[in-house]
Symmetry: C2
């Protein structure tokens, strides 16, 4: 390998994967993040999140969501409330219906914690 | 923008973000994936995963992990068992101690589902 090859190494990536730079999540961070993963850790909520994210225009009316499940409207509303309380989605009432959309920053933070840049890993994102 | 600029657009990225290509997780996929997020959705298990991933050499002895918590060894072992049953970590006994390491493929799959490429999102990874 020439000197030029070495010079193009991404320093930030290298630092991420150096054993000394790998700092595990502390108790406070874990306490903050675990409830978000727990909120996603339910098949109905995971599908709701996916349906909202994939819906035309990036937002979905509660009326679009209930039809995808063999569940009552109050049950769907409960799961949406859990996702919203965790900060994974946000909502707004417009007339008769409530509309939901995902919070991309929150999802990206969770993704980064589990992601390949943190393969050395699970470090602060 | 010249024609040449357009030609370098990553087709797979563009397809990912086109509304028609956004296919939400189905019930089977959600049933399979939700238990993995649920396993991470506990502060002790999230920290254990992080400590294992950050440990020197990418693996940690159970003896290295218990000291980080104010919990009994059987409690730590229970949480490690949950992570292993979910397929997030693997282990091997060597002499007196059991050694643990993360399963990077599983973590990367979860990361990809929540990640920015799926910002349109949460599509099949």
């Amino acid at each position: 390998m020439s000197k030029q090859d070495l010079s193009v190494v991404d320093v930030s990536e290298a630092a991420c994967c150096a054993p000394l730079a790998c700092e595990p999540l502390n108790a406070t961070e874990a306490d903050e993040l675990a409830p978000l993963f727990k909120a996603i850790g339910d098949p109905v909520r995971l599908r709701l999140l996916s349906l909202i994210a994939c819906h035309e225009g990036g937002e979905a009316c509660v009326c679009d969501l209930t039809s995808a499940f063999d569940l009552t409207a109050p049950t769907i509303s409960h799961h949406l409330k859990v996702l919203k309380q965790a900060g994974l989605i946000d909502s707004e009432r417009r007339g008769t219906w409530v509309y939901y959309w995902i919070n991309p920053q929150t999802l990206q933070r969770l993704s980064a914690i589990l992601g390949p840049r943190q393969a050395a890993g699970l470090v602060r994102a």
